[in-house]
Point group: C2
Chain length 422, copies 2
């Protein structure tokens, strides 16, 4: 028989799931104000616990330094007063978002008098699997709770002490406002098998959101039996149409690639219409912004200083100051390239020709398609969602930046007066 | 190297998927009229091919009789003039449904002037896996095409000749209207491994819809890596609240259970409030309608002639004239029973007390919740959707009766004037 103090990972996740389901049923019925008040209490508790959280973080940081983690990982792990304050104000910001739960999607009265409504409801239990950033503990928990869901959190082992301290503060705040502590649970073990147990916890966990690097997302997508909300790659294209205004093209392309090269909305491939008259200047503008460029033969004919792209380059998310460049045969050439190489995240056209732009927007089958705007806008905050739990490139449920609405589903409510089916 | 004339199932499905994707890209851009016209041509082609379809069906029927298939299966398999006409008029009816593709879900202008729209688009490639009813070939294909999707159909091996004849007619009609024949493909082999290949064809098939009995749905849900739209069980409850009008309760309960006992919307468990004053009459009314009843101890105290329910009964979808009956402690007792035993399909309350009814509608976490109406209304046609591809009890994407809208997803369209992210 399993030792309940040391349950196996599957039994542990099943137990957590049962408690989460009970909490989720309670949360699903809460009015907006009750959820918002609980998050404001949680934010206050985070602020109050700052010394405890920072002390816990120091333990994580010492272990991480001893384990020779990279400076980038150490930076992601590190907390200070302003980062804890950032978490707390982030939780408060979520409390101010408009609540999708209870919204009536549509309503109809049938000829027999039955009234049908589709009404938004929480999804239920959300599993969040993340890496070294401890702030995800607070961000993800707040979004889940505001949408009426229970959360099961599994953070990176290098942040275990920080996550536990943040989690304790959050739960103390939620409980102070009368919410069940089981609404936000942290997987207590750093055993990697617990991740596998979450991914296969059908019935206990309704959706998994991985937050982290590509290897985490790839593992989650490969192993999960539970639906996953995620994107693996952001191989985003900007197509500069023959009709594009050269000044706009240069500034948008440089912004799309270089504003921040490490985010998923960054441009990775530049496609230039063979009839665009200022290809050389455009390529030089991007190179002049310190971007390494790898071109196809036609691009290298325009600008011989370019390196040569290999077949792999067209399917690579660089996430640094590198881009591939191809000259394509008009809109159809761009659509063909994008159909083969896009990861379905964000693709943009720069054009003055509205007809060409609308054809691009209709034909490109990505979560986000843009006309005359920088791909770097691919972000829940920039889209006016107030926050985001992630960006999804799957085809079902929620796509693109996902915030509270993507953490809900719907049910049909039928109100009758005794109707029987003939 | 694989013999292309006899590819292995995975290679076969991959090839079909590639052709389906190309067809889906073409369909996604078609105006409503073009899709409707193609379906009307397909319906005409079905009518014209009636002799061929019936000849093919006779071959299937002979083989089925030789294989000693049950009379129920033979009936599902059998086609005649009126059933082919039913298929054709069903396809025409789908052509008349309103097209969800292109609908703007919401739109917003950001402070920087970018205009964001969420627009409905087809899902892409839908896999349909079904059993002996050959009419699914036409029904499912029509719904997929009208929503702009390509379909990969895998019918039951006992209907192989009928399905091929129906499929040939459909494709001839679609092609006559200028649609690609690859928009509707029939898996040519009866090799069961082809089903497994469809279920794991991530990237090639975007969603699987199983149409058939519980063992098919269970296999699909267990093995699929592709998202599945389905319900496994319809363990539906009717709760008769203390405030229910006895005449309404009797007629609704009898209708919910006995109108057709074999459909997924049929009531399987009757829950009676201990304070409902006419429990004995209600139980006798249902028993008098020739329903076998299995009660808990309290129900048997009210009506000693009842058989005894075992623990299993509360989790059983009878799909015949049998129901389980329990007396529960008010609304909370009913909610507790339903939380444990409902399959998330359809659950109903009969009550005059509006407050109790609204609490039930809010708290029960099923795809469809009803107040004072028969659970037998759980059907796309009855919901005014014009048709249905199936009823879903999953929590994500589409729930309850699913028709054209459930065969679509959305993308974000951003229209700018040169906005860069600061």
């Amino acid at each position: 028989m399993a030792d309940l103090n040391q349950p196996n990972p599957a039994a542990l996740i099943a137990m957590m799931g049962t408690r989460a389901r009970a909490a989720a049923r309670m949360l699903a019925g809460l009015p907006t104000e009750a959820k918002a008040r609980a998050l404001i209490e949680a934010a206050a508790a985070l602020r109050e616990a700052t010394p405890t959280i920072l002390a816990a973080n120091r333990i994580d940081m010492e272990r991480a330094r001893a384990a020779d983690l990279s400076p980038a990982m150490l930076d992601r792990l590190k907390l200070d007063d302003s980062r804890v304050e950032g978490m707390a104000s982030g939780v408060e910001a979520v409390a101010g978002l408009s609540d999708p739960v209870g919204a009536v999607i549509d309503e109809a009265t049938r000829p027999n008098g039955m009234v049908l409504s589709r009404v938004r409801i929480p999804i239920g239990v959300i599993g969040i699997i993340y890496e070294s950033r401890p702030n995800v503990t607070a961000d993800a928990a707040a979004l889940c709770v505001m949408a009426g869901n229970a959360a099961i959190l599994r953070g990176g082992s290098e942040a275990v002490e920080s996550n536990r301290a943040i989690h304790r503060a959050l739960v103390a705040g939620l409980e102070k406002a009368g919410l069940p502590g089981d609404a936000v649970q942290l997987v207590p073990t750093t055993d990697r098998a617990a991740v596998g147990a979450m991914l296969t916890a059908e019935g206990a966990i309704d959706m998994i959101v991985p937050r982290g690097g590509k290897s985490l997302v790839a593992r989650v997508q490969a192993e999960a039996r539970v639906p996953v909300l995620a994107h693996l790659d952001g191989i985003n294209h900007v197509f500069v149409h023959a009709s594009a205004d050269p000044a706009m093209a240069e500034s948008l392309v440089v912004n799309a690639k270089m504003r921040r090269t490490g985010i998923c909305g960054a441009m990775e491939t530049l496609l230039i219409d063979r009839d665009y008259p200022a290809a050389g200047a455009l390529i030089r503008a991007l190179a002049g912004a310190a971007c390494e460029l790898r071109g196809d033969e036609r691009a290298r004919a325009v600008e011989p200083s370019l390196g040569a792209a290999t077949a792999e380059d067209w399917d690579t998310e660089y996430l640094e100051a590198i881009a591939s460049v191809a000259i394509v045969d008009g809109l159809d050439g761009a659509l063909g390239h994008i159909a083969v190489h896009s990861s379905g995240h964000t693709d943009a056209i720069i054009a003055a020709d509205e007809k060409a732009a609308e054809r691009f927007l209709a034909a490109v089958d990505s979560a986000i398609v843009m006309w005359n705007a920088s791909t770097q806008f691919a972000d829940g905050g920039e889209f006016g969602l107030g926050a985001e739990i992630g960006i999804a490139t799957g085809r079902l449920h929620a796509r693109g930046p996902v915030a509270l609405e993507g953490l809900t589903t719907y049910k049909w409510i039928v109100r009758g007066t005794g109707q029987m089916r003939p």
